[in-house]
């Protein structure tokens, strides 16, 4: 197979795949060489089959459509008509027309999606804050059970706002944040922390940091220490607290 050197993201469907092929083969979308594109398309489908991936039925429908167009193109044009040239010239439908129309329509929205993505990124540069808690200010709010005029969407909207709000992290780990925290360093720190509290500490108390990275590294450090048998992790019974202990003689 020829060079697929472009790193391709997953396709969003047969139209997306076709657009990709059209771009890659530098084909004029208004004059698609159906035989060539069909062949290329089928190569993709076959590869998917060989890899035993589930192929969405839409891909197969499109394969059939391409083959149908291909055979239509091969048919000699209006053999038997007693033709009235003017009308025929205009009425003559290119079998590719419908597909081309769909591709172009789809391409418009694919581009529009790109625009949206950019807008989303720009918007994400702006930071907001949660509404202040003004509940002390309110007089006894109407506490009676009145009809509530809200929709499910209002509720989902509020939830999304909450999720979108950026999480403040303090104390900050400015430049350190992007760096990997060496596990060895964390291992030393865990041992030191344990020694400071008579060699034994609640497992949860080892996780003092807020950043996900630090939590992960701490966890890995404890695992590593267990493997080296430098610590013992004990639990009195199911769901009880875990304790980490420095192993004897270490």
């Amino acid at each position: 197979m020829e060079h697929y050197n472009v790193k391709i993201n997953a396709f969003e469907g047969p139209l997306d795949l076709l657009l990709h092929l059209i771009n890659r083969l530098e084909i004029d979308i208004y004059d698609i060489p159906v035989a060539e594109i069909t062949e290329q398309y089928l190569i993709y489908i076959h590869t998917m089959q060989e890899l035993e991936l589930d192929i969405a039925s839409e891909y197969l429908v499109m394969a059939a459509t391409l083959l149908a167009i291909k055979s239509q193109m091969l048919l000699p044009k209006h053999e038997e008509d007693n033709y009235d040239e003017d009308i025929d010239m205009e009425m003559e439908e290119d079998p590719r027309d419908e597909l081309v129309e769909r591709l172009i329509e789809y391409r418009r929205f694919k581009e529009a999606a790109e625009d949206l993505k950019e807008l989303e990124q720009e918007r994400s540069l702006l930071y907001t804050k949660a509404p202040s808690d003004l509940s002390d200010m309110a007089k006894e709010m109407k506490m009676e059970k009145t009809q509530v005029d809200v929709s499910l969407y209002d509720m989902l909207g509020a939830l999304q706002k909450l999720l979108r709000r950026k999480k403040w992290k303090e104390p900050l780990a400015t430049k350190v944040a992007r760096q990997e925290i060496p596990i060895e360093r964390r291992i030393d720190e865990v041992i030191r922390t344990l020694r400071k509290s008579n060699g034994r500490k609640n497992f949860n108390d080892l996780f003092t940091a807020h950043s996900r990275e630090e939590v992960v590294v701490t966890f890995l450090a404890v695992l590593e220490l267990m493997k080296r048998q430098a610590v013992l992790v004990t639990q009195d019974n199911n769901f009880a607290e875990l304790y980490v202990e420095v192993a004897e003689g270490k």
């Binding site: 993201n9 997953a10 969003e12 469907g13 047969p14 139209l15 997306d16 004029d28 979308i29 208004y30 969405a56 839409e58 499109m62 003017d86 010239m89 769909r102 172009i104 329509e105 789809y106 391409r107 418009r108 929205f109 694919k110 581009e111 529009a112 999606a113 625009d115 949206l116 993505k117 807008l119 989303e120 990124q121 720009e122 918007r123 994400s124 540069l125 702006l126 930071y127 907001t128 804050k129 949660a130 509404p131 202040s132 003004l134 929709s151 969407y153 989902l156 909207g157 999304q160 706002k161 999720l163 979108r164 709000r165 950026k166 999480k167 403040w168 992290k169 900050l172 400015t174 950043s211």
Partner: protein
């Protein structure tokens, strides 16, 4: 504080307190006991002042008819150091495409969206509803009475749009379209010779 003299300070405080819930013109007007027109003039004046004052780090944006205070975008680099990115990931390609179709063609049914995309679109629709970016806005006429989808205010907020009118222009049918028409015209002429 006097409503008349210190309206800027008051408005700033109101916007601050409202946070990302935003303030509608109506609530501004009602606090100041002025007309919507007057409220609009005030908010616009403050908006311009904040935008042009280099010494200020905040700005006012308008989203779907309500106003909120945000940091200026030039500050993003500094803020990134202190603030974790929001937990919700950005949208997948499938969701973005679906959303684009809905944004430009609303109200629209699932079937119509699938015709354009050429693939099943249930999952992206579910995601977009759950993310409160789209909602069911009615039922189509005819058999099936399928749900019609449209965008929400959360959509405007996520993409920083004042209103749907501010959506970027939908790309044309294609650059070549013009040539095509010209060619058609040429052949039409030819046919009529």
């Amino acid at each position: 504080m006097s409503k008349k003299e210190n309206w800027k300070a008051i408005l700033e405080g109101l916007l601050f307190a409202a946070g990302d819930e935003g303030l509608t013109l109506k609530s501004i007007a009602s606090v100041f006991e002025v007309s919507d027109q007057e409220a609009s003039e005030r908010i616009n004046q403050l908006m311009t002042e904040l935008a042009t004052n280099q010494g200020r780090g905040l700005q006012i944006i308008e989203i779907g008819g309500s106003y909120q205070l945000t940091t200026k975008k030039e500050l993003a680099d500094y803020l990134k150091k202190l603030v974790e990115a929001p937990s919700s990931h950005s949208l997948s390609q499938a969701s973005l495409e679906t959303l684009a179709i809905i944004a430009y063609k609303q109200p629209i049914t699932r079937i119509e969206i699938e015709e354009i995309r050429g693939v099943k679109t249930e999952r992206p629709l579910q995601t977009l509803v759950a993310k409160a970016l789209i909602k069911e806005v009615g039922r189509a006429e005819g058999n099936g009475r399928a749900y019609l989808y449209g965008t929400t205010k959360g959509f405007l907020d996520t993409f920083g749009l004042k209103s749907l009118k501010e959506l970027p222009k939908l790309p044309d049918q294609g650059d070549e379209e013009f040539e095509q028409t010209e060619a058609d015209l040429f052949f039409d002429t030819l046919n009529n010779v």
